[in-house]
Each structure stands twice: as C-alpha cells, then as structure tokens.
C-alpha cells in the first residue's frame, strides 16, 4: 500500500482558494487517488477521486501530475464550513478491499 504524506494543518481566510498537496511516491500503476473530508463527530465523506491529470466536481478539483507521485486537492473560495480534516488516500480502486488513512490535514478557515 502506498504511504501518503500531507501537511498536518493549514489555515486559510474565507473566500480564498486552498490547495492541499499529498505525496505518494510509491503509488502503484492501478492505484487511484481519493480525498475524504471529515467534520467533527462525523464519519469521513468522499470528496473526489482521480487517476491522472485533472478531475473537477461541484466541490473540488484534483490535480495529478504525470508521474502521479503527488496530488493536489483544490478547494475554491473556502468558507467557514469547510473547516475539517482532509484525508488523501491511495489505493481505492476497484481491486482494493479497504482503506488505510494517513494523518490527514486539518484545515481551519478563518473569518
């Protein structure tokens, strides 16, 4: 299983774009990259998943360079409600049976 490394915490002001980068140097060919969001007293919630290049949905964008050894979750114009822990996971693909969570990034949005 590919290990992931991401910043422990980040602060941002409301309305700014936030980019959280995750390193996964040992990613395997068939691994996907998935990001989850977790609010206090709730279970993690799926945000976005990608394999390469760029993926965008109504919540976020995910940028994956050609070597796939890192990925960047981009949250446009964050609000206070985006304060949460964001987890980057590698290996959530049709063949994977489980998820292994890293430390996550605690994002605090400041008014």
């Amino acid at each position: 299983l590919a290990k992931t490394t991401q910043p422990i915490s980040m602060d941002s002001y409301e309305g700014q774009e936030v980019n959280i980068t995750c390193s996964h140097n040992n990613i395997a060919t068939n691994d996907y990259i998935t990001w989850y969001q977790q609010f206090p007293s709730q279970g993690p919630r799926f945000i976005i998943q990608g394999y390469k290049t760029k993926v965008t949905n109504e919540v976020a964008s995910l940028f994956i360079p050609a070597d796939r050894k890192s990925s960047t979750l981009s949250l446009p114009r964050v609000s206070l409600s985006d304060t949460a822990v964001y987890y980057c996971l590698v290996g959530d693909n049709p063949g994977a049976n489980n998820l292994f969570f890293g430390t996550g990034t605690r994002l605090t949005v400041i008014p």
């Binding site: 998935t34 989850y36 007293s41 709730q42 279970g43 993690p44 919630r45 799926f46 998943q49 987890y87 959530d92 049976n97 489980n98 998820l99 292994f100 969570f101 890293g102 430390t103 996550g104």
Partner: protein, 114 residues
Amino acid sequence: SAVISQKPSRDICQRGTSLTIQCQVDSQVTMMFWYRQQPGQSLTLIATANQGSEATYESGFVIDKFPISRPNLTFSTLTVSNMSPEDSSIYLCSSREPGPYGYTFGSGTRLTVV
C-alpha cells in the same frame, strides 16, 4: 451513494462489560468495514466483514476482543468485549459500493469506558 445508520451514537460503559454497535445500510453492499478513531487522530482499520464469511482482522485486532457479525448484505455489528478504558474511542463502520463514490461511513459511536 449509500446511507449508513449507526447506533448508538455514544455510550458510557463500565469496564469489563461489552458493547455492540450496529450499522444498517440502506442498500445491499458486499463489503463492510469497521474502523477505530482516537480523538484527534486518524482512522485505523479494525476488520473487513463480508456477508457469509468470517471477518478479516488487521494486525493488532482479534476476533475475541472485537467479534463482528454480518448476517446479510445490509447489516453488521461490532462488539467491543471486556472493555477497558483503553477501548475508549470512536468506532465507525463503512461500506463500499460500485462506482465513483468510494466508501460511505456511518456517523460513528463515541465510546467511553469508565
């Protein structure tokens, strides 16, 4: 995506007793998972539960301590047995479903052992 109802949401238990946590999924899912999360920490996988077979436990977790049932494709239970204060944690269940939505999690059970 699926919706998981997990209960109880929290409980305070005496040491030496057992607590059974239930998870109900609103659709049939092949695989369910149980995690533990210490406050302020990341999630640790306890075991994988498939319907019709014994659960598969991760290193550091054993069936005698955390027996799991999976009687059908929509339901699973995790029992925390012979509890000690070290078992105080948040326990979450999860299911996996086909498609791009990944895993769905229950809201968790906050367990305090006194």
